[in-house]
Amino acid sequence: MRRVVAGYPLVITALLLSLYGVAMVYSAGQTDVPTVAAHAWIAQLRWLAFGLVGAYIVSRGSVRFYEWVALPAYVISCIVLLFTWKFGGGAGDAASSHSWLVIGGHRLGQPTELAKVTTVLMLARELAARREAPRSLLELWRPAVVILIPWLLIMAQPDLGSAMVFIGIFFAMLYWSGVPFPLLVLLASPAVSLILAFSTSLWGAWFIALLLLVLWYKPYMLEGVGLVTANVIMGVLAPITWDRLSEYQKHRLLVFLDPTIDPRRSGWHVIQSQVAIGSGGWLGKGYLAGTQKRLAFLPEQHTDFIFAVVGEELGFIGVTLALALFFYLLLRAVRVASSANDAFSTLAAFGIASCWLVHIIVNVGMTLNLMPITGIPLPFFSYGGSFMVSCWIAVGILVRIASEGRGARIGDVAV
């Protein structure tokens, strides 16, 4: 038996976050009129236990095995996503969506969460296979396909938030694999055009900046022309795409820009979340004593808006503590990535870190109206089995990578 110690700080941080999270899920269940969240904390503890077991098992496997298993796992994930899209069901607010895998009327879980891990592994395997950094976007077609398949299936559910996570993972991992920064900007440029097209002047400014970048970076002629054309097309397409978005998606985007346009319905979530957090002050209203939560002003208080409960009950101090733990967790993950022994390991570790970071930014930002409401969970905090388990499996992978990496002391490496 060799002991695994290289990942200790990481595991302990993740465990602290999970326990902090369970405590907050428990509090979220303490409302004046009982809600579905009342007993969620027990289930959450069970999921945490599952996750810990899963993490332990995963940490005993070898990185080479994960590299090998990445392809079948990825393919299976995509098949399950396809299946979910076809036959899946919704839950809660998004009852009309298809993000849950349902078999025989039982909701088994959200395959999207697991697909995030398998896609990270698959992308790491794909990028690790290359020997030189790409100088052309065309060289990126294979990783692009790897990300595009699950992305399209998730967009079809539709799950805008997770789709954003996949984009984040893609760009972060490309960056880590050594793709030059200007190339990433060029890659992202059509999407940026799509967003900025709503303001002609903004789009114009962006377009000029893009032209300058193309002239300075000098990509391949054909590619440069293609990118500029793509930007123009996106600028034109944007209004058409807007029309094709479903009403609730449009509404969410509009309410993100100004929550007060609909204070009773769509804007309600954001306004009440801000009120909850803002009224917390330095020290909060006290654990279990948040009035916004207790009196049901706060929606989805045990899942998407769990961080608002932290803000309300434990105040700025509690929020800072949670954010500090997250910061440390991500630092450790980056450390694992930078001290990994091989390309697959370093990419996988960084992919996991970036996945968490996007989750944190989007979820926490949403509670303060810095991000649109997309309903993606906060790692280790939000109530939900699939995500809890997949986060802990990711921890297990990180621990394994760490223990095989340069940072691990001899004798510490797991057998």
Binding site: W176, I277, G281, T291, S338, A343, I361, L368
Partner: protein
């Protein structure tokens, strides 16, 4: 690709910086929301969860001069409802109407109340019966936001007997809410609507308290108490009046159901109003908790005008009771003495120019002195006296007596009497056109007809001066510092003679049917023609007793009541009751 450790380390440093930046932004954003804007959001969070339930303050109790209760508060219940929206309120009320009586009008009214103050509980039943309350309490769980609370309810033990001066209370109207007089009032509050209740609203209202209840996001009441310290309501101090409740009751009984008119009894020394009654009256208790629209219509359409105060708002020609004003002005000017006779004796009428002016008694009174003329109310004597004084002096004297002024009684909406202005010539020119009138107007004015309409209260005030030393006391219902104003200058002796003449009216004149055993009653009858109904005169009596040392001044006016002695008999009973003496029903002369 480039996975050289140096490359990786460089990117790891960049990634660390980016991470640091991201978390710094997040922490900064939370600092801004939680620390910088904490006050704003705390307020919003409190507004979210707390609803103010007003606790009505008991209105001040109104006492009579012997500390008997005129208006008090009895326990009552109000039913109100807290709602997040007008639609939800309407839905709740629809469901409520299935178990308690609730008309569509009441539902509409409640929704209107809601729109005015959505954050306050909307009053559904301002005065719920115990039965309704117990039904609701039983099924309370079905109605989140339902608030049943005890609310002090105004009660007038003597009901209709005191309505004329006490008024009534009711929910504040939208018009009142938007007026500056009711600044600081909130929708749903109860305010005085008439009489003392309105006149002394500021002193009677007390201070409303607040109870905080905690509601959840759907407006359901989650916690009834302890959410925040309640503010107790503060009861108003009692109001002490000069009213003699026993006397007031007997005045109401004397008027009964058939008589129509008004009476006021004043203590001439202090001006304290002992009784004030306008007949027919109404039961002010029926207004509490909202009057039914049928009763409101009925009261407003009643030709006998129960809501119209005939003592302070009604204006009537004073008739012969005004002869004392003519006499006083003449005596003050030194134009006549009480035993002076007029050149032309009364033969039942008086020829002035081409018009013949009748005396009320067609048999005539012969040649009489001023004293006797007062006793028998001889019109012919006063026609000549009026001519002797002259129009402008008569009007100026009348104005000095307060003929154009309100009595100043502490009741709202007192009417201003009608009387010519000091620029008499212009006044009549304006009224009838230049040279379209003659000096004959002075004949009418001298006997209390013509351009002269007085309130009962104002006539009472004038007689307080006759009963004392020429200073009139402002009638006061609520005890204050008495106010007196000299309105004429007569010597003590002259005044005693006038009072003797007034005593003669009762002992051997037009009001001999109003005598009281053992008490010398002094007063003057009046039988006033009124423009609306020439067949039915208004009957007046204004007087005081005992004649030598007046304790009480009474003015009684009966609308369409015929001859003044009918009013005199009522007045004498009022006075007898007050002085605890027995009126003697002697002969019923029609003099």
């Amino acid at each position: 690709m480039s996975y050289h450790p140096n490359e990786i380390a460089r990117r790891a440093r960049q990634a660390t910086w980016i991470l640091g930046g991201v978390f710094l932004v997040l922490v900064g954003a939370f600092f801004r929301t939680q620390v910088v804007q904490n006050r704003v959001y705390t307020l919003q969070s409190e507004e979210n969860r707390l609803r103010e339930v007003p606790l009505p303050a008991p209105r001040g109790i109104i006492y009579d001069r012997h500390n008997q209760v005129i208006a008090e508060n009895v326990p009552g219940y109000s039913v109100s409802i807290l709602s997040p929206s007008a639609d939800s309120l309407r839905a709740s009320l629809q469901r409520l109407s299935m178990i308690i009586q609730l008309s569509p009008e009441q539902i509409d009214l409640s929704v209107r109340r809601y729109r005015r103050a959505p954050n306050r509980p909307t009053v559904v039943l301002p005065d719920a019966s115990f039965d309704v309350v117990s039904v609701l309490e039983e099924r309370r769980i079905e109605f989140p936001g339902l608030i049943i609370q005890s609310a002090p309810k105004r009660y007038y033990p003597d009901g209709a007997a005191v309505a004329s001066f006490v008024g009534y209370v009711g929910e504040i109207t939208e018009a009142e809410l938007s007026s500056s007089k009711y600044q600081g009032y909130k929708a749903g509050q109860v305010v005085g609507k008439g009489g003392l209740e309105r006149q002394y609203e500021d002193r009677l209202r007390g201070r409303e308290g607040v109870r905080f209840v905690e509601v959840d996001a759907r407006g359901r009441v989650v916690r009834e108490a302890g959410a925040r310290q309640d503010l107790r309501p503060e009861a108003a101090d009692p109001l002490y009046t000069n009213i003699d409740l026993d006397l007031q009751r007997s005045v109401a009984t004397l008027f009964g159901d058939s008589l129509q008119g008004g009476a006021i009894a004043i203590d001439p020394q202090s001006g304290g109003v002992l009784a004030l009654y306008s007949a027919p009256s109404y039961d002010p208790n029926r207004f509490i908790g909202g009057i039914s629209s049928e009763l409101w219509k009925q009261l407003n359409n009643d030709p006998r005008r129960p809501l119209f105060n005939k003592v302070t708002q009604g204006r009537y020609p004073p008739g012969s009771t005004w002869k004392l004003a003519t006499a006083t002005v003449a005596l003050e000017q030194g134009l006549v003495a009480l035993d002076d006779h007029m050149p032309i004796p009364c033969t039942g009428g008086y020829q002035f120019g081409n018009r013949y002016f009748h005396c009320w008694d067609k048999k005539g009174h012969g040649s009489v002195s001023l004293q006797r003329a007062i006793e028998v109310s001889c019109d012919v004597y006063f026609y000549q006296l009026g001519l002797k004084v002259g129009l402008s002096r008569l009007v100026a004297g009348g104005i000095a007596l307060g003929a154009r002024d309100r009595s100043g009684i502490d009741l709202p909406d007192e009417a201003r009497p009608i009387f010519p202005t000091a620029d008499v010539e212009d006044y009549y020119d304006r009224r009838y056109g230049k040279r379209n009138w003659s000096q004959a107007v002075v004949l009418n004015l001298a006997i209390g007809q013509g351009e002269n309409d007085q309130t009962v209260a104002n006539m009472g005030r004038f007689y307080t001066a006759l009963a004392t030393d020429g200073t009139a006391a402002t009638p006061e219902i609520v005890r204050r510092r008495p106010e007196r104003a000299r309105i004429f200058q007569l010597s003590q002796e002259q005044l005693e003679h006038v009072r003797a003449a007034l005593a003669g009216v009762v002992s051997r004149g037009t009001a001999s049917s109003a005598q009281i055993q053992g008490v010398v009653l002094a007063g003057k009858t009046g039988t006033a023609q009124n423009a609306q109904d020439l067949l039915h005169n208004h009957a007046w009596f204004v007087g005081f007793a005992p004649a030598r040392d007046p304790q009480i001044v009474v003015a009684v006016m009966l609308e369409f009541g015929g001859h003044g002695d009918r009013a005199a008999r009522i007045a004498s009973k009022i006075i007898a009751r007050y002085l605890k003496a027995v009126p003697t029903q002697l002969i019923n002369t029609d003099g």
